[in-house]
């Protein structure tokens, strides 16, 4: 008598056939895909939203550190419960709508700000695989373009918020934001072309796997022979190390590094972070597009902005900083322990990049608006195009 017969005694025959049918669906290819995708989405959303609330906390603590203050350190140990207190405060406030605002669009706008960054996370490979199931929710062949497309529609929420508030400062913020985001989308997309030319794929999983083999794209000197076992033989490791420092790798590295800088800086502009935070510039526009919002409306703008930061950081890490990979660490096919190590690696990189975002915000002053536009159109756009030709020249020279 096997285990399933023992269990079947506790159910009526009809219930047992139903249970078996449900189990069969869960194990069938389509059913398996559906429930693993749902579990992956739920876990990823949980992790990212948790990360968002602690990024806000980190922003306040790090800014305090930089400005020689203390920051929020009262709620819980070192103020670690501050996000909970903030969330409660925002929920309990009055959800006020100004009399002259367009009610429908005024309420719609915060949701439109919140949704696109979450959609971006669907194609990001946050880990290799766990128990043989790939961690990426949707491994699209057009993954990198999907990221650009979704981040290009995130401007609607901000523009609508600015317009529907029917008030001067939010309107200025909305106008600034739309022109800024359109300008920097160009260099954001064009800066990636050398990456696609080198790898020959737009699939983010393929891009990460390329980096596992050939080294991170910001530092493509990782040689093929460098494995864990080579480390125990100094001569072998030294040879492999030398093989990595070839002229070929160095020539690749020049256009890729320019791409990385362009993408990183354009991402600051896309996420409206200082030194490009003109749409909400507190000193000029009070709060820009979200001046008129209170309670959950404001909270959604806040969450959307930080989720966009996390999505942007994830895109940068996936494309240039090796995704979930770390030198000498195997992927999830070598056991579930390594699968979890890969996921932790990815989020550790995200946190490091978020801290960099925060560091930059509290270090650099803001651009003037005409400077911002000039930088985007007269410098970044041209540099991105020249970089494509440079990459093409390097690739023809090498092959």
């Amino acid at each position: 008598m096997d285990a399933s017969n023992v269990i079947s005694q506790f159910f009526s025959p009809a219930a047992w056939t139903f249970l078996k049918a449900v189990a069969g669906w869960f194990m069938s290819p389509i059913g398996f895909l559906v429930w693993t995708t749902l579990v992956k989405s739920a876990v990823l959303l949980g992790i990212v939203l948790g990360l968002v609330s602690y990024t806000v906390y980190a922003e306040r603590r790090v800014s305090a550190l930089i400005q020689d203050r203390l920051g929020p350190n009262r709620v819980g140990w070192q103020g670690l419960l501050q996000p909970v207190a903030d969330a409660l405060k925002l929920l309990l406030k009055e959800n006020f709508t100004p009399k002259s605002a367009n009610y429908f669009y005024f309420r719609l706008a915060p949701k439109l700000v919140m949704v696109p960054p979450i959609l971006v996370l669907a194609v990001i490979p946050v880990g290799s695989s766990l128990f043989g199931v790939p961690i990426t929710i949707a491994s699209l062949n057009t993954g990198a373009l999907y990221v650009l497309a979704i981040s290009s529609i995130s401007v609607y929420g901000i523009v609508l918020a600015g317009w529907s508030s029917n008030s001067k400062y939010p309107f200025l913020g909305g106008i600034r934001s739309s022109s800024q985001m359109i300008s920097y989308e160009l260099s954001l997309a064009l800066s990636l072309v050398p990456v696609f030319m080198l790898i020959g794929s737009l699939n983010l999983d393929t891009i990460v796997h390329y980096q596992v083999e050939h080294g991170w794209l910001v530092f493509p000197f990782w040689p093929k022979g460098m494995t864990f076992s080579a480390l125990w033989h100094p001569a072998e490791a030294l040879n492999a190390f030398r093989a990595g420092l070839s002229l070929k790798h160095f020539l690749y590295w020049i256009p890729l590094f320019i791409s990385f800088l362009l993408f990183l800086i354009s991402m600051f502009a896309e996420t409206n972070r200082l030194p490009f935070d003109l749409p909400e510039a507190e000193q000029e526009l009070i709060g820009g597009y979200h001046t008129e919002y209170s309670s959950m409306g404001f909270a959604l703008f806040f969450l959307g902005e930080y989720t966009a930061m996390i999505a942007g950081a994830s895109a940068i890490i996936t494309l240039f900083l090796g995704g979930w990979s770390l030198p000498l660490i195997p992927d999830g096919s070598h056991g579930w322990g390594w699968g979890i190590v890969n996921i932790v690696t990815f989020f550790a990189k995200v946190v490091a990049l978020l801290l960099f975002f925060i560091w930059v915000r509290w270090t650099l002053p803001r651009f003037r608006f005409d400077q911002l536009m000039k930088l985007g159109w007269y410098f970044f756009f041209e540099l991105a195009i020249v970089n494509i030709f440079l990459a093409a020249a390097v690739l023809t020279y090498i092959h």
Partner: protein, 167 residues
């Protein structure tokens, strides 16, 4: 599954398209058009044409319509919103739409090319970007290059014009 999704997104697209012509506020019209574009992109995706779907979102919904919205907001068209719906205009539009659909149905019924089902894509063709790339660069290389030069000239022209106005 595919058929269900087709009906959902087709209906959404038609609803948004009706919104474009029937809503009074210009902002609502522009946003309905965006919704219609997004539903069209979803239709492309259900046909496994991911690249075209995503380009639809990136170019039409993400770039062109943002500029439209931007300009509509700057103009602040109040008079447009107060204009009432005219019955005669609606009847006329209905007649034109009816004639157009009738014509289209006649053409499709008469055409030997469209009467038989369109062949499926090859089973091996999973990477639609590579497929589009090889088609563009092998079969349509010269037209593609010419369009590329045209777009480059347009871009340079725009930069030049905006520079001149700044001085």
């Amino acid at each position: 599954m595919q058929l269900t999704l087709f009906w959902i997104f087709s209906l959404l697209m038609i609803l948004f398209a009706l919104g474009v012509v029937s809503l009074r506020s210009p902002i609502s019209c522009a946003l309905s058009l965006v919704g219609s574009f997004l539903a069209l992109a979803a239709l492309f995706v259900t046909l496994d044409a991911f690249f075209i779907g995503i380009i639809q979102v990136l170019v039409a919904a993400g770039a062109v319509m943002v500029l439209f919205l931007f300009i509509i907001m700057l103009l602040n068209l109040q008079a447009e919103e107060r204009r009432p719906v005219k019955l005669s205009a609606m009847v006329g539009a209905g007649a034109i739409i009816f004639c157009f659909i009738k014509l289209l149905a006649e053409v499709i019924a008469a055409s030997p090319l469209l009467s038989r089902p369109i062949p499926l894509l090859q089973e091996t063709a999973t990477n639609d970007i590579a497929m589009i790339g090889t088609t563009l660069f092998r079969s349509f290389n010269l037209p593609f290059q010419i369009i590329g030069v045209l777009l480059l000239v347009a871009t340079v022209g725009v930069v030049l014009l905006s520079r001149r106005t700044l001085k």
